[in-house]
């Protein structure tokens, strides 16, 4: 099969596959750093932008990828995988997704290597950029910080999907036929985000929590049986192993050590994380009654939060102690004073451990018969304001100019809607 290919084509193809693999890893890891990515277009070719796409090369990531490949190339039976997992501040971890770059035996002898294969690989990378923002782990990674971080692991060889739990879904990013086989890129992602079900020894963890007593018991059990980290388990294949305080990990996953100015990531631009956010993100995937909920039957509504990470809740604390209405905790330390003020304004009562009690949808002083849900929903909604775009220090001068350019247009729109605004103001009075 391979002898049909001209030597130059074979050489080119090997180079394309190698750099495609490295760029694939960069795109995936960068999409899980928790920040928005922005690169510039350049009309003059620089010669170093593979596949005509501006994808930065983070040196540690390239290093890890090359280490995992160990001089080999992805091929038939030799897949390159990037595993994304979540690790809580308590030390528990859970695999979220596995991206697989594989090759199958279906060959396309007719295709021109230097032209069509290259361009199709470029399109596939663009598709990867788009799809990495769509899988559930993206939202989780944008909200990482105090309570959890996102880690990655690259390995080569056989694909391992068992850590993704039951019912994982697969999305195919795309395929590119080559004369030596068809390159396929896909992602298998966990759908069952109930943290409990990941811990095999605890049988009683699955299913609904019946009441406070039971949930406390389960919390206590799961809290004490911290399993060995997934990352350790995964190391047996000889893949790259990444654990904090390994330099690369800390560098890339924006691990929030408060007041560490030496952290190499730009923290100022990140929106401050309200710890209840991951809980909300996981809302769509599991429906369980959270710990410390006093009346589980009234709490199970469409808007009630789940508590997949009940393990976060500190052992032994009862609900009154954790009730943010009774003991409003301090806001967690924030990287910049401006962010700090935003955070404390918008999220009073969201301390680190108390957020799990935010599952309780009965805000203090609201009467049961008067639509408690709306007040609770209101509270929840305004607790996590999206970060103002203008406060993100990640903006390039290009987008600053763009913001200024769009101001007249925005003013026009606002002027047009002035009646609406007036009506709103009247309503508030």
């Amino acid at each position: 099969m391979e002898s049909d290919l001209k030597p130059q084509d074979q050489k080119d193809l090997d180079k394309f596959i190698k750099f495609f693999a490295l760029k694939t890893v960069q795109v995936i890891v960068q999409a899980r750093l928790g920040e928005k990515i922005c690169t510039r277009s350049s009309s003059s070719p620089t010669g170093s932008d593979w596949f005509n796409l501006a994808i930065k090369d983070i040196p540690e990531v390239t290093h890890e990828a090359k280490k995992a490949l160990a001089g080999q190339l992805p091929g038939i039976g030799r897949s390159m995988c990037v595993e994304i997992s979540l690790k809580t501040s308590e030390g528990d971890s859970m695999e979220l997704e596995t991206w697989c770059l594989e090759m199958n035996e279906k060959c396309d002898k007719e295709i021109k290597v230097s032209y069509a294969v290259y361009n199709r690989l470029s399109v596939l990378l663009k598709s990867l950029l788009a799809i990495t923002r769509v899988t559930p782990a993206y939202k989780l990674s944008r909200k990482q910080g105090h309570d959890y971080v996102i880690l990655y692991r690259i390995y080569f060889g056989e694909v391992q999907l068992s850590g993704l739990g039951e019912g994982f879904q697969t999305v195919r990013v795309g395929v590119v036929g080559t004369p030596i086989g068809t390159i396929t890129l896909s992602c298998a992602y966990r759908t069952n985000l109930a943290f409990m079900s990941n811990r095999a020894p605890d049988e009683e963890d699955g299913g609904q929590f019946a009441g406070v007593q039971d949930s406390q018991e389960v919390c206590a059990t799961s809290f004490s049986t911290s399993p060995p980290s997934q990352v350790l388990h995964a190391g047996k294949e000889g893949g790259a192993l990444l654990m904090p305080p390994h330099g690369a990990d800390v560098h890339l996953t924006v691990e929030h050590a408060p007041n560490t100015p030496s952290s190499r990531r730009k923290e100022e631009g990140r929106r401050s994380v309200s710890p209840s956010d991951p809980v909300e993100s996981l809302n769509a995937f599991t429906r369980k009654v959270g710990a410390f909920v006093n009346k589980p039957s009234t709490q199970i509504t469409a808007a009630s939060l789940d508590l997949p990470f009940a393990a976060f809740a500190p052992r032994g604390l009862d609900s009154e102690e954790n009730d943010p209405m009774v003991h409003p905790p301090d806001s967690p330390p924030c990287p910049s004073p401006l962010q700090g003020s935003l955070h404390s304004q918008g999220s009073e009562g969201s301390g680190q451990q108390d957020d799990f009690v935010m599952v309780d949808f009965r805000p203090a002083f609201s009467k049961d018969d008067l639509l408690p849900m709306d007040l609770g929903t209101f509270y929840r909604e305004f607790q996590n304001p999206p970060q103002l775009a203008s406060l993100s220090l990640h903006i390039s001068s290009q987008s600053m100019a763009d913001d200024l350019d769009s101001l007249p247009e925005k003013l026009r729109v606002y002027e047009k809607n002035i009646d609406e605004f007036d009506a709103f103001v009247d309503m508030l009075q």
Binding site: S42, S43, T46, N52, V123, T135, V176
Partner: protein, 211 residues
Amino acid sequence: MNCRSEVLEVTVEARQVEEAMLALLHTILLHRSTGKFHYKKEGTYSIGTVGTQDIDCDFIDFTFVRVSSEELDRMIRKAVSEFKDALSNSGSDGMGQISLEFYQKKKSRWPFSDECIPWEVWSIKVNVVNLANEQERQICREKVGEKLGEKVINVVEVINRHEYLPKMPTQSEVDNVFDTTLKDVQPYLYKITYQITDSLGTSVSTTMRRD
């Protein structure tokens, strides 16, 4: 040649129309844009670099990737804004459709004008709903975000079939295939059109937005 036609359908709130359309149109254009071509001697050419950026939506729980080109973004926003205005002026439960068509120009001899031959058309059907309260709106934010994610996967699936694409043109032909007017990227020649169906079910207007 046959024109490939794809239809995507979304149901959104009025305030989400703009972002939903931008998300889908930019996702398609990301795949249908290349770097600027620089032709050299002997018919070879080199290609510029396309940058990308993440855009967070304000009214939808969604982030999409678009090509880093302010010019292109301005043009798409203008078309989407016209569509959105037309939709809102048509009445509360309006339905509309915005189409992104990629075409090739075929030069004809005088007195005939150049032909525009479409090779791929993406139609996005929009149903606008009104929601009663904040709780529903919050759920809608998330649901529409998930739906858009599914649409992005659909788009990627179609594009990765690697079906017909115009041949890479020579220097003299490049304007028949690509839009070379932008300074930083080069999308395939495209045009955006839209149709609004009012609540009576009749198609009210079709406006050509030529690019």
